[in-house]
């Protein structure tokens, strides 16, 4: 603990000694001249949205537990969180009807600080049990058809980038490939899997000639007039060649100034690891997002996530498969929260935890749950209005097959875009949708 405090202090010293001095010390002023990506070697003071996709269909009924309903226990024999072992939500904005999964201890603390909003029964009209269809709808932000909207097929983040963030790193996917959310549109998105590998490795035998090769490639790309798919390749290659150096500088900055081994166990090149903690895929991805924020890039929306939530079998309860996924979330969010606090960016942050659907209300024969409909969305960040929102889960709901949709996902997305990111959501979410019966504001 003392050791950790000492390290934070050094970090704070650097930050508090003044932004200008800090930038000069890191020696990266030359990068500022490049308008393509990195704007300064310190966090930009700007609003950000971080989307975490729990891929596979998270059983949120075991994440945000309707603890007072006996039907919750009776329908989920073997996978229900035992009465009294859920984490209380009576602190902060206070709600006695729900509890958190026992793995979410750090998120409970954030709830108590008023930094967590939970929205029950998020979904879309006329649900579908297919992963693919549900993912498509959430990714497009369109439930019906594109035809009456008179716009080409595209993901909501592609439309956001085209309208509000058409810079090379205006919207970014980290560790999640190219989700459909980024498809279509004209702006080039930044899609990276792991920052430490985002570089063109050299040829050890012919170093100088390798430089010559790289420069020749860049000159070819700059003048290349390929069309069709090859044009997309050219843009991606061109962007990668111009950004990889800047990103590596940002990695170096971060490693030199944050104690990554404490907050983000398993980071390449570090040794000290907190007891009982190993690197996780979500942790690595949120850490990379933290590096990019610290590095002064102008990214407004980061998209990331992790899989394993399709728990048809062996879901577990307070411990088990789903618990280890929740622990991963809890640890990663906590480390990210600490980073953002040190950078002075927590109040600029909204983390939106989504999934493609919730699961059935009852346990199946394999100690798991099958695909369902509505789910509980969680939002975290200094910019969030803490509390429970959306229609409550009733006994009748729990006795039904699925949770019904009570809140159209776009109601929440558009609030975040409108209030937090301060953009007009209409071009991003052009299809009409209904507001919930009881309106609310998560940000």
């Amino acid at each position: 603990m003392n050791n950790e405090f000492a390290k934070f202090s050094r970090r704070n010293f650097l930050r508090l000694s003044g932004a200008a001095a800090g930038v000069a010390a890191w020696g990266l002023i030359s990068d500022r001249a490049n308008p393509a990506g990195r704007l300064q070697a310190a966090p930009l003071n700007m609003k950000r949205l971080i989307v975490i996709n729990m891929s596979g269909g998270n059983d949120t009924t075991n994440m945000v537990i309707p603890r007072t309903l006996t039907e919750y226990q009776s329908r989920r024999s073997g996978i229900a969180i035992a009465v009294g072992s859920e984490l209380s939500l009576t602190g902060g904005p206070g709600n006695a009807n729900y509890g958190l999964h026992p793995a979410l201890v750090n998120i409970q603390a954030l709830w108590n600080a008023g930094d967590v909003a939970i929205v029950n029964k998020v979904g879309f009209p006329t649900p579908n049990l297919s992963h693919q269809v549900a993912q498509d709808i959430f990714s497009y932000g369109v439930r019906g058809s594109f035809t009456p909207l008179s716009i080409p097929i595209s993901g909501w983040l592609a439309r956001y980038a085209d309208n509000y963030a058409a810079t090379p790193m205006g919207v970014a996917s980290v560790g999640f490939g190219k989700p459909l959310d980024f498809s279509g549109g004209t702006a080039t998105s930044f899609l990276v899997d792991s920052l430490s590998r985002f570089q063109f490795f050299s040829d050890p035998y012919f170093n100088n000639n390798h430089t010559y090769r790289i420069n020749t490639i860049k000159s070819i790309l700059a003048a290349n007039t390929s069309t069709g798919l090859a044009a997309g390749v050219r843009n991606a290659l061109d962007s990668a060649h111009s950004l990889s150096g800047q990103v590596q500088s940002a990695v170096t900055d971060y490693v030199n100034n944050f104690q990554v081994d404490y907050r983000w166990p398993g980071y390449p090149g570090t040794s000290a690891t907190p007891p009982g903690k190993a690197a996780t895929s979500l942790g690595n991805r949120l850490r990379d997002i933290s590096i990019l924020i610290n590095g002064g890039f102008d990214t407004q929306v980061f998209y990331t996530g992790y899989g394993g939530f399709d728990t048809h079998a062996g879901q577990g309860a307070a411990t088990g498969a789903q618990q280890s996924l929740f622990t991963q979330l809890d640890d990663a969010v906590q480390a990210f929260y600490q980073d953002m606090t040190d950078m002075g960016q927590w109040s600029n942050t909204v983390i939106m935890v989504i999934t493609e659907f919730g699961r059935r209300n009852y346990v199946n024969g394999s100690a798991g749950t099958d695909h369902g409909h509505g789910y509980a969305m969680m939002l975290l960040g200094g910019a969030v209005n803490g509390g429970m929102y959306g229609p409550d889960i009733s006994s009748a709901d729990m006795l039904a097959e699925y949770l019904p949709m009570g809140v159209d996902f776009r109601y929440v997305y558009s609030q975040v875009i409108n209030t937090h990111l301060a953009r007009n959501p209409a071009p991003v979410l052009p299809e009409a949708y209904s507001a919930p019966a009881v309106p609310f504001s998560v940000v």
């Binding site: 490939g177 899997d193 010559y212 020749t216 390749v233 991606a236 990668a240 048809h312 099958d370």
Partner: protein, 518 residues
């Protein structure tokens, strides 16, 4: 009573090596496409056929259907004639092949292969096979019927090479047979929770994906009620650990099987009981192919067309004729493949100009096969892993994300980094990846700067502009000394020039935007 079935057959070649086969190990799965007793009818193409074939047509065919365009395959196609070549290419060997022998040696203990050995087994075949279309098509099916070895452990991982061989050996065969085999494939049973599905609580996972992904497509002619009924047919499978052998076996337990009648698609399947009750999986496949035959045939044909020819094919002139052929041809796949590859549409400008983004397997294996510059198996493994396409480990049941999703900022970097590994100068004993680059070049006497550049433009099938071609030639005649570009005229007789510049040229050409498109 529990009957132990022989659900983990190995290939003929592995069996030949494996005198230690565990008790119960069944017969080989080496039967080739075309079915065991199927007599091939005369082929009539329902699509207009291409009459003559240019060299570019041949390169197009090879580029679309194989990993890279090798000089060997190009010459073979020219000498055999394209129609004969297609006929041979789509007919896979039914006996043990020499090219598999090196692959068998990739695994030390076939009863307990390691995680990486499973990948090595297949990537070795892909790299060195003499039947490159067989592996390309197997990757198509692997993406379509995506299962991952991540759900297996030391006691059960031997099922994955068997699963891979299932896809390799049946990809050109009979669709009904393919669906049969996959419905009771041990990896599939674990992957989609079949081993947890009992009459007390049928698990819907496999039943849903069987229609949604494998045979019909999402929301295409089935309901939730249909899924619940079909799920009952698949009940009864389980795994059992044998402590003596320290292996897990797949078993059908009739006491866990739902013996009631099941009704879906308006047809009723009479419930079966006893040791053969597991055969209801055949009933589900049969009912699907009869009651939803049009949808299945159109769905599968469209998948194939959109993988090999171009997206969004016309329904009346492409999909309907091919789907009809699939149904009337007793669900044989090989005629569909032949019809596609012989069609005018395949060689049309729509096909050639649209193209597909190569996936990492196509790009890496293709680069190495075309140039002869390979990496070690572990380097290939880690580069494929970094590029997010490790065979035997697709990310989800949907397989790998399609097409343009590969064009992430990271993705293009990883591809360059694989090429850098393949072209890298290495010292040591000569091997597949410690080589003299002079042995991989155009014939002596055809090695002027322009000849070398043009040779590799053809080989890699890139389409540089005249200016870009000249830039490549200039590269061969210059170097960089750390501060400035200096003249260093091309001389193919100087070994260090070859080691440095031929490798460099390939590194640069593999980052030409058109190289990413097949």
């Amino acid at each position: 009573m529990i009957a132990r079935l022989t659900m983990f057959s190995l290939t003929v070649s592995t069996l030949a090596l494996l005198s230690l086969a565990p008790a119960g190990c069944g017969g080989g799965d080496g039967g080739g496409g075309g079915g065991d007793s199927f007599v091939e009818p005369p082929f009539t193409n329902p699509l207009p056929e291409q009459a003559t074939f240019t060299d570019d047509d041949i390169r197009h065919l090879l580029s679309r259907t194989q990993f890279g365009v090798t000089t060997t395959e190009f010459n073979l196609c020219k000498s055999q004639g394209v129609l004969t070549y297609i006929d041979n290419m789509t007919r896979f060997p039914t006996s043990t092949q020499g090219y598999e022998n090196g692959a068998v040696a990739q695994v030390v203990d076939w009863k307990k292969p390691s995680y990486s050995e499973v990948v090595y087994y297949w990537t070795h075949i892909m790299q060195f096979t003499t039947e490159p279309f067989q592996e390309h098509l197997a990757m198509f099916w692997h993406d379509h019927f995506a299962t991952s070895q991540n759900v297996l452990d030391t006691q059960s991982r031997r099922w994955m090479p068997t699963h891979i061989d299932l896809l390799r050996h049946n990809g050109n065969g009979n669709l009904r047979t393919l669906l049969y085999k996959l419905a009771t494939d041990p990896v599939m049973l674990v992957w989609l929770d079949g081993i947890y599905s009992t009459k007390y609580a049928p698990n819907e996972n496999f039943a849903r994906e069987f229609w949604e992904i494998f045979s019909l497509g999402a929301d295409n002619g089935y309901t939730q009620a249909d899924i619940e009924e079909a799920a009952k047919c698949f009940t009864g499978w389980r795994t059992r650990y044998d402590a003596t052998a320290d292996l897990t076996y797949m078993e059908f337990d009739p006491t866990r099987h739902d013996t009631t009648n099941k009704t879906f698609f308006g047809q009723t399947i009479t419930g079966r009981s006893g040791n053969n009750a597991y055969l209801e999986y055949q009933d589900v496949v049969d009912v699907t192919l009869s009651a939803r035959g049009t949808q299945v045939s159109e769905y599968i044909v469209k998948r194939l067309w959109e993988h090999y020819v171009y997206p969004n094919p016309d329904v009346s002139t492409i999909i309907t004729p091919l789907a009809t052929l699939l149904r009337t041809g007793n669900w044989e796949l090989r005629p569909i493949l032949k019809a596609m590859f012989r069609s005018q549409a395949f060689y049309s400008s729509q096909s050639k100009d649209t193209g597909f983004i190569k996936d990492p397997v196509e790009m890496f294996i293709g680069f190495s096969r075309a140039t002869g510059l390979f990496t070690s198996r572990s380097t290939l493994y880690s580069e494929l892993s970094n590029a997010a396409q490790l065979p035997a480990v697709p990310p989800t049941v949907f397989g790998w994300p399609p097409g343009e999703a590969w064009l992430s900022s990271q993705g293009v970097v990883e591809r360059a980094n694989y090429t850098r590994e393949a072209i890298r100068y290495r010292t040591g004993s000569p091997s597949a990846y410690v080589y003299n680059v002079a042995d991989k070049m155009p014939p002596v006497g055809q090695r002027s700067d322009a000849q070398v550049v043009d040779w590799y433009i053809d080989l890699l099938r890139i389409k540089p502009s005249a200016t870009e071609r000249q830039t490549y030639i200039d590269y061969l005649n210059n170097d960089y000394n750390g501060t400035a570009v200096i003249a260093d005229p091309w001389d193919p007789l100087v070994q260090t020039q070859l080691d440095k510049k031929v490798r460099g040229l390939l590194y640069m050409m593999a980052q030409h935007p058109t190289y990413y498109v097949r």
